[in-house]
């Protein structure tokens, strides 16, 4: 969708970890939570989401097991591991510092008004 903002590399992992830190859920659950939280601004392709989930599973940041949804459907549920939690904390901290410094620089008034 043209009007959604593309994600910067590495950010997707961070967002997914955050989502899972709220509550363990399945892939669709993560997708819809992100869409809701970003107000539709961030465009996440579902397949990219799953690739990230699988990758993080192999890295040991998340763990997965099959479960059943409220509607009785089988789905694969993901949750954070201790490593994942640590990684989330570290990455979130880094991101915030990064964002703060960028924002600080951008806040400097320019000489020309537009």
């Amino acid at each position: 969708m043209a009007r959604t903002l593309p994600l910067l590399k590495g950010t997707l992992d961070l967002l997914i970890l955050k989502a899972l830190s709220i509550e363990p859920t399945h892939g669709y659950g993560v997708a819809s939570w992100l869409e809701a939280r970003s107000g539709g601004e961030l465009g996440v392709e579902d397949s990219a989401l799953y690739q990230s989930l699988h990758r993080m599973e192999e890295r040991g940041w998340v763990e997965a097991e099959w479960g059943v949804t409220e509607n009785g459907r089988r789905a694969r549920y993901y949750g954070l591991t201790a490593n994942g939690r640590a990684h989330l904390a570290a990455e979130a901290d880094t991101w915030e510092r990064y964002a703060a410094s960028v924002a600080g620089i951008l806040a400097v008034p320019s000489t020309r008004a537009d």
Partner: protein, 885 residues
């Protein structure tokens, strides 16, 4: 978000592998959920599904997911497998430490089995696979003369060869060589070396490299130039490694030669030659065509095949036969790969030994499998626990096999190390059997073979115990009832031992047949006495001898006098081709006979030659002082000749003459000789060849043309000092001549060296197999006895006598042994067909051998079974009954 979930595994009965199914399920669930939501917000079903699919991503993305999942799955499997292997190995090591007895035995058995097999492989690999050092060895061939259908000789005549050479288009190059021992002198030293006379582009055809210098050109050879090429060994050791080569002082058979080239160690041909001399070749005809004195080698042209060369050369041979009716060896030409000719009989022996060692390894594996079985049953409880806790049977089998493989690799490594260390010693012992033994190396290929053999042995030995051990009935095992988890009545163990016995019987039968065949051969009468006979080779190389026959006669007279005067000498004679030497065939003619050219042995000897060698006189008289240069020329013939040509008449007084070169040189026409005596036959070429007709001439009347004679001296006791005295006596007659000492016994021993070596090898393997069978039977019986202790105790309590108990136990063993022996005899009968070619005077089904092997094995096995049986019968019944439960 959905808070509710239950623990489940991927289920469903969808097609496809588990990984695909999982990924598909996950994706489908996602799509379904999004579709639901879209429908809930107003879209219609189909549009919602389409939108969901679009939002997910294109097909390629799906595939990427799948690929990624598969990769991860594979990686996980590998990791798990690796972890399992490490755990198994750790467990195996722990078990090994806890059972040092079994471990030691297993290691020893594996070490010896793999070590022996690896040694054999080293030898076989070297001899059979890489016998020629020259480039493109597959193009090198040897040319043999075919006399008539089916009879071919390894030698060719120069005349024939020249015609083949000139008429052939399939051969890129061809050369002749004739090898013999020659007297060589350098400075003040005179000694014998193996030399080769070569004709044609010898070095170029074989592509022999040169360390220093070059070979002869064809022109130099044709001009009979006084040149020589020497081997690196001779050059360094004896000639002082002198450069430039022309400074070397070398005299070969009395002729001074300039050294022009040095051939590197082990790159020459034939292998043990140390000096090569050039020899001119020229065409010939008539009788010359029948002097097959040379061996021919050739290199096939690129693209020409052996068969093509054979057909072409045989065609040329036929042409020769048509134009030259006297030609005997021109029925055809046989073209054989040079590699096969060089390897020769060694191939058969090596195959035999390799088979024997493989058998031994097999016996060892079966033995270990049996031992492993016993151990597996003792550990049944452990296995049962594992099974109960959910370990798959495959897992258990893998673990048990790993244990054996670990032992095998450890033992095998030790064995290979031992083989590596002993290869050098082994090679020097088998140098007679193996061409280029000094070059055999122990390299990576051999080590790899050793590893493979160890691995295979471990797998073989481990598979049966692994399978049986993992089968156990868990409940019974866990309740600790001993003897209840035996998986039958010990049948697998009995089968193991039975198989072991069968293999050992087969090996013993084969060995026994070969031994009997060997004995039959060497017990043949050679026709002469080899004990206490010292030989000395002397070649009259200097000019005076070449020019004057009288000088030769005078020299030999002196030598015979001097040697005969030594204390301890019983008789002394001289001969130009004594038994076991390679030569002395010629053509003779019998007066009054119809054939002008009869192949027979022709020898030049002295008066007491026959006495010195113990050849009996059958009629007439020997040569004596009345026969001289001026008197009637006389000859002595052997029994074969008398029987063949003078069956109905008295051979004494008949006349013969030798039409071959020997006599020609004495005035042009061969003189007629009158037969004055008949002596016994001699097996000149060894035990395996029947005696041929032979005639003997007296050296005083017809001196040997080559001037090379061997002094044979019969000594009264086996006094080694006498050899030196004899040599000194001969040198006194003319110090410039080289003398090579030897003994008849050593020469005869060389005839059978190969066979004896093979027999020694097979004997060792057979003995080792017997030992293993002993251990195997003992082990099995011990275990069986252990199993049946309660049974025996009960019987004893019920009043059975000990003797009866022992008989009961032995009865079980007897059944196994009988089955094994029967099977082994059958297998031996089938396989002995393969040995028929090697057996002389012994049938492949010789009952004595089979019977002896069976009896030996049965005796050994029953003996091994005795001790455990006695122990079982002796056990205290009360204790036995109480110790269980």
């Amino acid at each position: 978000m959905a808070p509710y979930r239950k623990r489940l595994g991927p289920g469903g009965v969808q097609p496809g592998d588990p990984v695909t199914r999982e990924v598909d399920e996950e994706i489908d669930a996602h799509l379904a959920m999004r579709t639901e939501e879209l429908v809930a917000s107003g879209m219609d079903g189909a549009a919602a599904r389409a939108e969901a699919s679009r939002r997910f991503g294109e097909a390629a993305a799906r595939r990427r997911l799948l690929a990624g999942a598969r990769r991860r799955d594979r990686r996980r499997h590998w990791r798990e497998g690796w972890e399992q292997l490490r755990a198994d190995v750790r467990l195996a090591l722990r078990h090994a430490r806890r059972a040092p007895g079994f471990t030691a035995v297993a290691l020893a058995i594996f070490a010896s089995g793999v070590g022996l097999t690896t040694s054999m492989f080293t030898v076989a690999d070297h001899v059979l696979l890489r016998p020629l050092p020259h480039p493109d060895p597959q193009e090198l061939v040897a040319l043999w003369s075919v006399q008539e259908e089916g009879t071919s000789f390894s030698r060719v005549s120069m005349a024939n060869w020249v015609d083949w050479k000139e008429g052939s288009s399939t051969l890129e190059g061809t050369a002749l060589h004739a090898v013999r021992r020659s007297a060589v002198a350098t400075g003040d030293d005179a000694f014998y070396v193996t030399t080769a006379q070569v004709a044609g582009p010898f070095f170029g055809t074989l592509v022999i490299p040169f360390l220093v210098g070059r070979g002869f050109t064809e022109e130099e050879a044709q001009n009979d130039a006084s040149l020589a090429v020497v081997s690196e060994g001779l050059w360094r050791r004896t000639l002082g490694g002198v450069t430039p080569l022309r400074d070397i002082d070398l005299v070969v058979t009395g002729r001074r030669r300039e050294v022009v080239g040095v051939v590197p160690e082990a790159e020459g041909f034939p292998l043990d030659v140390e000096v090569w001399e050039p020899h001119p070749y020229r065409p010939g005809s008539g009788g010359m065509r029948n002097n097959i004195n040379y061996e021919a080698v050739a290199r096939l042209r690129d693209g020409a095949s052996l068969e093509q060369a054979r057909v072409e050369l045989s065609g040329i041979a036929r042409g020769i036969r048509e134009s030259d009716p006297e030609a005997l060896y021109s029925w055809g030409v046989d073209v054989k790969p040079l590699r096969d000719v060089v390897v020769g009989e060694a191939r058969t022996y090596l195959v035999l030994l390799s088979a024997a060692v493989a058998f031994l390894l097999l016996v060892a594996c079966v033995n270990l499998a049996g031992l492993g079985l016993a151990r597996a049953r003792r550990r049944a409880q452990e296995s049962a626990v594992h099974l109960a806790l959910g370990a798959g049977r495959g897992r258990l089998v893998r673990r048990a096999v790993t244990e054996h493989v670990v032992l095998a690799l450890a033992g095998g490594a030790a064995g290979v190390a031992i083989a590596w260390l002993t290869t050098g010693a082994l090679m020097s012992r088998v140098a007679a059997l193996v061409p280029r033994a000094q070059e055999v190396e122990f390299d990576l290929r051999v080590a790899a073979f050793g590893a493979a053999a160890a691995l295979a042995s471990g797998l073989l030995a481990g598979i049966v115990p692994a399978l049986t051990g993992s089968r156990g009935a868990p409940a019974a095992a866990l309740s600790g009832v001993r003897g209840a988890v035996s998986g039958g009545r010990g049948l697998p163990g009995a089968v193991m031992v039975g198989t072991e016995i069968a293999l050992a019987v087969a090996l013993l039968v084969a060995g026994g047949l070969l031994v009997r065949s060997f004995q039959a051969v060497v017990s043949r009468d050679l026709g002469y006495q080899a004990e206490n006979v010292i030989t000395a080779d002397v070649t009259l190389t200097s000019a005076p001898y070449r020019e004057s026959m009288d000088a030769r006669v005078a020299y030999w007279h002196q030598v015979l006098e001097r040697v005969g005067a030594l204390p301890g000498i019983v008789d002394v004679g001289i001969g130009n081709w004594i038994p076991t030497s390679d030569g002395g065939s010629g053509f003779i003619e019998v007066a009054g006979g119809d054939e002008p050219n009869i192949g027979a042995g022709y020898r030049v000897v002295s008066d007491r030659y026959f006495d010195a060698l113990g050849i009996p006189l059958l009629s007439g008289r020997r040569f004596d002082a009345t026969d001289g240069a001026g008197t009637e020329r006389v000859a002595i013939v052997n029994e074969s000749m008398a029987d063949r040509y003078w069956r109905d008449v008295d051979p004494l007084g008949q006349r013969v003459r030798a039409t071959s070169m020997e006599s020609w040189m004495h005035g042009g026409t061969a003189p007629w000789l009158t037969v004055v005596g008949v002596v016994g036959d001699v097996r000149h070429y060894g035990f395996e060849h029947a005696p041929a007709p032979e005639m003997y001439a007296l050296h005083r009347q017809i001196p040997s043309w080559t001037g090379a004679m061997t002094v044979v001296a019969k000594v009264s006791t086996a006094a080694p000092r006498l050899g030196d005295a004899i040599r000194e006596a001969i040198r006194d007659a003319d110090p410039s001549l080289a003398v090579e000492l030897g003994s008849m016994e050593a020469r005869v021993a060389r005839l059978t060296a190969e066979r004896r070596m093979v027999l020694a090898g097979i004997g060792t393997f057979g003995a080792a197999a017997l030992l293993l069978v002993c251990l195997g039977v003992y082990g099995l019986m011990s275990f069986a006895a252990g199993q049946r202790t309660r049974e025996m105790a009960v019987r004893a309590a019920l009043g059975a006598e000990r003797e009866r108990l022992v008989r009961l136990m032995l009865g079980g063993a007897l059944r196994v042994v009988a089955a094994g022996v029967a099977g082994g005899l059958l297998a031996a009968y089938v396989f002995s067909r393969l040995l028929t070619g090697l057996l002389v005077e012994v049938r492949a089904s010789d009952p004595l051998t089979y019977g002896a092997a069976a009896a030996l094995l049965a005796a050994v096995a029953l003996l091994a079974a005795l001790a455990p049986s006695l122990r079982a019968a002796r056990g205290n019944p009360v204790e036995a009954l109480r110790s269980d439960g």
